[in-house]
């Protein structure tokens, strides 16, 4: 059969599938918002008004929108830190810890070489941040490659170790004279540039460029091909002469480096200081976004945006509606729950 006729015979199937997927996602989101509305009702708030508030506060004004983008930056990057390893079958739940280590390494650069000019200091901090994240990811990656421990468990457990190291560094060495829970403010040369008078910083470019590079690498390069082979069938890939354990370690480290970059961007672009416990589960947020997006770059951009709308809107709900921030976590949890339930949810409608 020629390629052309093949395309034709499969075409209706593809279109039908796309339609099914769209309907499915719509229903999923609707379901999540319905459940959340129920929670709002129970706590005595008007759900419709709350949803309206979320939307108007985030998408209703230029400032609100810029804040959504700001919130979106670390999510983009940490989601990629999960998406890349997932292509070779690695489940990197350690984004949170890698982000902390990256932030710590970058901070080390910012504090030690504060006299350097920005064009030298910022690249140095980027490199240090990535190195920190990569080192943290090397531990689970290496243990996995020698067949000793599952990377999901180790990377997850290391998440609770990383903030303690940051605490040790801040309390022990770096804390500012005024305050024990954070370092001194970074010098201007150690701050990522911001745009348009908003808080949107260069980290956005980092994230978008990395996602593009990720897509290009997976689609066109030899490494992308080999990684897809590993993800599809690791045993066969190894028999075909693809160096499996090298890939596992290196890809895990690159994933960690990306998460470390998110940490660097956060301390250098957003806070301008290293705070104790600054992340507040950005790494986990990235994990969830990656799952929601199925690891696809475009999906990651979209899902980061949606989640950023929810979280920034949630901040506002907290102020205006007197709702605890935890409520937003409930909404996110519902979303995740519905997405994970997807495979069995609509089984009956198939064929």
């Amino acid at each position: 059969m020629s390629k052309l006729t093949e395309t034709f015979t499969h075409f209706p199937v593809v279109r039908q599938k796309a339609l099914q997927a769209a309907v499915r996602y719509l229903l999923m989101i609707l379901f999540a918002f319905l459940m959340f509305g129920l929670i709002l009702l129970i706590s005595g708030k008007d759900p419709l008004q709350s949803y309206k508030d979320i939307l108007s506060s985030t998408l209703g004004s230029a400032y609100g929108f810029s804040e959504v983008i700001v919130a979106m930056i670390p999510m983009l990057i940490t989601a990629l830190a999960v998406a890349l390893p997932s292509r070779v079958g690695l489940i990197n739940v350690g984004g949170e810890g890698q982000l902390y280590l990256g932030a710590a390494f970058a901070t080390f650069g910012a504090l030690t070489f504060s006299s350097l000019p920005a064009w030298l200091l910022l690249p140095l901090m980027v490199l240090l941040g990535m190195l920190g994240g990569a080192l943290w990811a090397f531990i689970p990656g290496y243990l996995k490659s020698i067949g000793l421990v599952n990377e999901t468990i180790t990377s997850l457990l290391l998440n609770s170790v990383a903030p303690k190291i940051i605490g040790f560094l801040i309390f022990g060495f770096w804390h500012s004279p005024m305050d024990t829970v954070k370092t001194a403010n970074f010098v201007a040369a150690a701050r990522l540039p911001t745009f348009f008078g908003t808080r949107i910083h260069l980290g956005l470019v980092f994230g978008l460029v990395l996602l593009l590079v990720f897509w290009l690498v997976m689609k066109y390069t030899r490494w992308g091909l080999e990684m897809r082979a590993i993800g599809s069938n690791p045993q066969a890939a190894r028999r075909n002469g693809i160096p499996l354990s090298k890939y596992l370690v290196i890809v895990m480290c690159i994933g960690g480096a990306i998460a470390g970059l998110a940490g660097m961007a956060q301390v250098s672009g957003f806070y301008g200081v290293l705070l104790l416990n600054f992340s507040m589960s950005l790494g986990f947020m990235g994990f969830m976004i990656c799952w929601l997006a199925g690891g696809e770059p475009l999906g990651i951009v979209l899902m980061s945006f949606v989640v950023a709308v929810i979280t920034t809107g949630g901040n506002l709900l907290q102020l205006t509606r007197d709702l605890p921030y935890a409520v937003i976590n409930i909404l996110l949890a519902f979303t995740l729950f519905v997405v994970l339930a997807r495979p069995t949810f609509f089984k009956g409608t198939k064929s």
Partner: protein, 520 residues
């Protein structure tokens, strides 16, 4: 107390009829208006190439697929079979190629799971009793208390058949039952089938081994490309007639021609010097393996699967570490070198199971073709891949072997035979100096099997060395210049094919009568 079904009177009466069965999959018409009659007390062979629609037809009968149109009649009554459960209610049972037993349970428990109307509290004693009774009648001896994980493949097959008999199946469908068996086990299986036939059971045997069909089957139905090519009785059938039905064109037969001069003077391509491995879990440990493969030589490896063949192939490839001894490839020490280095030095590998061991199922066929040699096809240091070059190379080899399959579909959508063809093409494209071929012709129809063997012979004549792992003795004896037998991880015998017989090798394969044979 549940009774075993009494032996039926052996009358030749129609049991089941399939009428106008049509089934299409996206892009393929798997069954086109097929009629099939199955009588009581007969062995009915279903013969055809890969993709001829044999398995599809039987899976429709067993309720795995629903046909698009057509009807099934049992004893003249139309029935609907929408699930294996329905099939079992109509006394239809099927033994699949890969058995469906649960290894962690005992034989009796496995059989009990399959029984209709299983009571809430098992009476294992009674089930054991019934198993013994039936297994005695049909010479299907197995210990009901044994764990399935400890049974050989042949015994597992017995359990599968017992399972159907105890569940009161009347029609037994066997999907390529002899594929996994050693020669004397095949004999035993046929005896069992004979006695079942005498008791009135209807048996359908899916196969592409023509010899078995001619010897055993009462009637033979041949499918070709989803169509019914014809049904012959045993008296009418002959090899030429069946071949004519299976293939429209004439087959070219295999020209082997062993090399008369053994070039022992040339340096061996592969040397294993006292190699041992440490097998984990279900793996077999190899012990004291001494083996040489010279250029222009096919070394056959006989053995019942699970006796170290997989480990031997993996050892040469570098998947398994040597715990002792040395491995030399092309005169250089490759002991415990990476698979990548072994591959790059010019080793081709055709594994026993292409789907799990050779291909990435979700990638396209063409992408899979590049996987073993990404370094050859990458351009700009790996930033892009020269797909036209991959395609050109593959098409050249495809032309040489006269294989064809689509290149732009996901590999997992290929049938078993096409997967095997794909792996053969890929490994031959790189013109390897040493080829490890396990079960080369598994899943291939007669014509493709000949082409695949021909390709190996051609490679040998061009100076490649080949380690040829198989269970098909006929194939081993035809192709090999030298033959070794693996049993329990050791080399149990080593001969020239003309110095030995099927039965000698068969016995070595199963570990019996080793003392009769002189071991080099």
């Amino acid at each position: 107390m549940i009774k075993n079904p009494a032996p039926m009177t052996a009358e030749k009466k129609q049991f089941l009829a399939m009428r106008g069965i049509t089934k299409s999959f996206p892009g393929v018409l798997a069954n086109d208006a097929i009629n099939l009659d199955i009588f009581n007390a007969e062995i009915h062979a279903l013969l055809g190439e890969n993709g001829a629609g044999k398995s599809t037809l039987m899976k429709i009968l067993y309720g795995f697929y629903r046909c698009d149109s057509g009807q099934i009649l049992i004893n003249g009554q139309q029935v609907t079979i929408h699930s294996p459960h329905d099939a079992r209610l109509h006394q239809i049972g099927m033994v699949f190629q890969d058995f469906n037993l649960i290894p962690a349970l005992s034989v009796a428990e496995n059989i009990a799971l399959f029984l209709p109307n299983l009571p809430a509290v098992l009476n294992i004693k009674e089930i054991n009793q019934r198993i013994l009774e039936v297994s005695k009648r049909y010479d299907l001896q197995v210990n009901p208390r044994a764990m399935v994980s400890q049974l050989s493949i042949g015994e597992q097959q017995k359990v599968e058949i017992l399972k159907l008999l105890l569940a009161e199946a009347h029609l037994l469908i066997l999907d390529e039952p002899t594929r996994v068996l050693a020669p004397h086990e095949v004999e035993a299986l046929f005896k069992v089938l004979d006695s079942l036939r005498k008791d009135g059971y209807a048996i359908v045997q899916i196969t592409h081994k023509m010899k078995e069909v001619l010897e055993r089957a009462d009637r033979i139905t041949v499918l070709r490309g989803g169509h019914l090519a014809g049904t012959l009785s045993q008296a009418e059938a002959s090899e030429e007639k069946l071949v004519a039905l299976m293939f429209e064109k004439k087959l070219t037969s295999l020209q082997v021609g062993h090399k008369t001069v053994t070039e022992k003077s040339s340096a061996p391509l592969l040397e294993l010097l006292g190699v041992e491995t440490h097998g984990e879990g279900a793996e077999t440990s190899l012990k004291a393996i001494e083996l040489e493969v010279h250029p222009g030589e096919i070394v056959g490896v006989a053995g019942v699967s699970g006796n170290g063949q997989k480990e031997l192939g993996d050892l040469v490839l570098g998947m398994v570490r040597c715990s002792r001894g040395r491995k030399l490839l092309f005169g250089k020490d490759f002991t415990n070198q990476s698979v990548q280095k072994v591959r790059r030095s010019g080793v081709g590998f055709i594994p026993e199971n292409p789907l799990t061991m050779a291909i990435a199922p979700f990638m396209s066929v063409l992408q899979n073709m590049a996987l073993t040699r990404t370094w050859r096809y990458s351009r700009a240091g790996g930033l892009s891949i020269d797909w036209p070059a991959v395609k050109a190379d593959v098409e050249k080899t495809m032309g040489r072997l006269e294989f064809s399959f689509p290149l732009y579909v996901p590999a997992r959508s290929l049938s078993g035979g096409n997967l095997q063809r794909m792996v053969i093409i890929r490994e031959m494209t790189q013109e390897p100096r040493l080829i490890i071929a396990s079960y080369l012709t598994r899943g291939l129809d007669v014509q493709s099997a000949i082409a695949a063997r021909q390709a190996l012979v051609q490679a040998r004549d061009n100076g490649a060395g080949i380690l040829f792992i198989s269970e098909d003795l006929e194939e081993l004896f035809t192709l090999s210049d030298r033959l070794i037998v693996l049993y329990a991880g050791t080399i149990a015998g080593s001969f020239k094919p003309e110095e030995t017989t099927f039965f000698e090798v068969g016995h070595l394969m199963t570990g019996s009568e080793v003392h009769h044979v002189q071991i080099n």
